[in-house]
Amino acid sequence: MDSILFLIFAAIAVGCGLNLVLQTHPISSALSLVGVMGSLAVLYLLLGGEFIAMAQLIVYAGAIMVLFIFVIMLLNAGGERRGRKRLWAPWAGAPMVAAIIGIGAYLIQRAAPRTAEVTFGAFQHGNPSDIGTNLFENYVLPFEITSILILIAIVGAIVLARKEIE
């Protein structure tokens, strides 16, 4: 059962990922990315990451990607023009990506012992309570300094994108 679910959602994720890379229109790419995120959220659930799966939906799919779509719509950007000089890209790119994936897969196959298998429900520490405990005990410093990051992001968005009032 776990394998079937994995295969289904992995196929969706890869399909959407490919679509993201191959589509010429940013909106299509954005939605493909949402698809990837959604299927990844399901995979997180399979791996026992309930909290992170929901965070993935809320933060990534629900906020970040909406922002992307918003900007794409705002700029009303059309599809990519196909420049002649970039014709080599797919030809060079596809084998390159395949090669990288191949090497990566080989390494990973060596890395993970065959006994390591994923069973739904076997990992019990992904609930919000456990995560919160770990987060606020061991990772309290990174958590706190992340607030600076968010403040910067707010300031930056305002500085760069606000309308001149004068």
Binding site: L57, G62, I69
Partner: protein, 395 residues
């Protein structure tokens, strides 16, 4: 496999009830608005227009499905589907009552109890925006695009106060499962004040409730925040180019969202299916009393009819009410139905407020809407969350 069959049955029941509710919610809205505006509302189709929803459905189903030539076809088709899918799926984690223990059937009145139910709802509501935004963009129409833009900005902006408002009661109740949330709200102070979060200490969550309520209006694009589809500015906003079933899908999504939001408000703030006052003071008999009163009203008007057909319909309704009142007295059934009643009553009340507000308030201007979110809702929600957290930490 028992689990699977049971789940299927539950899903079917919930889907049926939800669909019916959605259909009739619209009828109720039209009726209530009509009465607010001193009109009668639909009354041609069926008694008191009761069959009006059915007629609407038939109309929408049979209408010609127009496909404007300039739209982006894939997303044009996809958008309503996305909208309605995420709106409907949210109901799956909402519990309607306690457990059902009828004969061999032992199950919770809920499709599934996730220990992260609240997050699930938040996540889905975040996804809902795609439907609207995409519809606006795919229509390739400036009004639609503006509607889509407005809605995505609005939803992102209001998601923040929503989440912050939700976080405050969660801090107190210390769980993310809806069922446990409601259970944590059981009991009474001094024997009669319910321990709902809007009343519960250390910080009664009245402010959160109001914030959540306001944000919920915005999240569901309802008056006074219905900017994305403001008819007099944007023709009809994001669904300008939609007709027939695809239009209906958006409509359904909007109402489903209303229902979901009302359910969440009930579960989080109003104690879910916990009765307003303890059973020892007779709260268990409230439904019986109400339905009896309804029956009495029906019979009275049936015997003093304003219109000729009331003579038949109202007494018939009275008989149904009587029957329901009796059902609430059968102990094993009552144990199932009573929580359901309380839950439905609270949700119904909130839905009524939705309609009431729509009948009463004018629409915001767009910049006011955004400023309201960032300069009022957001700071207040943060302050509220901070206060709550402080109180929880100190107590």
């Amino acid at each position: 496999m028992n689990f699977l069959i049971l789940s299927l049955i539950k899903a079917a029941v919930v889907a049926f009830v939800l669909m019916t509710t959605l259909a009739y919610l619209q009828w109720i809205e039209r009726k209530v608005i009509a009465h607010i505006q001193l009109r009668v509302g639909p009354r041609r189709v069926g008694p008191h227009g009761l069959l009006q929803p059915l007629a609407d459905v038939i109309k929408l189903l049979t209408k010609e499905d127009l496909l404007p030539s300039h739209v982006n076809k894939v997303f044009y088709f996809l958008a309503p589907f996305i909208a309605v899918f995420f709106a409907l799926i949210a109901i799956s984690v909402i519990p309607f009552g306690t457990e059902v223990n009828l004969g061999p059937v032992h199950t919770a009145m809920q499709l599934t109890d996730l220990n992260i139910g609240v997050l699930f709802i938040l996540g889905l509501s975040g996804m809902g925006v795609y439907g609207v935004a995409l519809a606006g963009w795919a229509s390739n129409n400036k009004y639609a695009l503006l509607g889509g833009l407005r809605s995505s900005a609005q939803m992102i902006s209001y998601e923040l106060p929503t989440a912050l408002a939700i976080a405050a009661p969660l801090l107190m109740l210390n769980t993310l499962s809806f069922r446990q949330l409601v259970e944590a709200q059981s009991g009474y102070y001094l024997g009669f004040i319910p321990r709902w979060t809007i009343f519960q200490g250390p910080v009664p969550q009245l402010v959160s409730f109001i914030l959540f309520g306001i944000a919920a209006f915005a999240e569901t694009n309802r008056v006074p925040f219905d900017l994305p589809e403001a008819e007099n500015e944007l023709v009809a906003g994001f669904h300008t180019e939609y007709s027939s079933m695809k239009f209906a899908a958006f409509f359904m999504a909007e109402y489903a969202n209303m229902v979901t939001v009302s359910c969440v408000a009930t579960l989080l703030f109003l104690g879910g299916w916990q009765p307003l006052w303890p059973a020892q003071y007779g709260s268990n008999f409230l439904p019986t009393a109400m339905f009896l009163a309804g029956a009495a009203l029906c019979f009275y008007h049936g015997f003093h009819p304003a219109r000729s057909f009331d003579r038949i319909t109202l007494p018939a309704a009275g008989v149904v009410f009587l029957g329901i009142a009796v059902v609430f007295l059968i102990p094993p059934v009552a144990a199932v139905l009573l929580p359901l009643f309380w839950f439905a009553a609270k949700v119904g009340f909130i839905l009524f407020v939705y309609i009431w507000v729509r009948g009463t308030l004018p629409r915001f201007r767009y910049d006011q809407l955004m400023r309201f979110a960032w300069t009022f809702m957001f700071p207040v929600a943060v302050a509220n969350l901070f206060l709550t957290g402080l109180a929880v930490a100190l107590s």
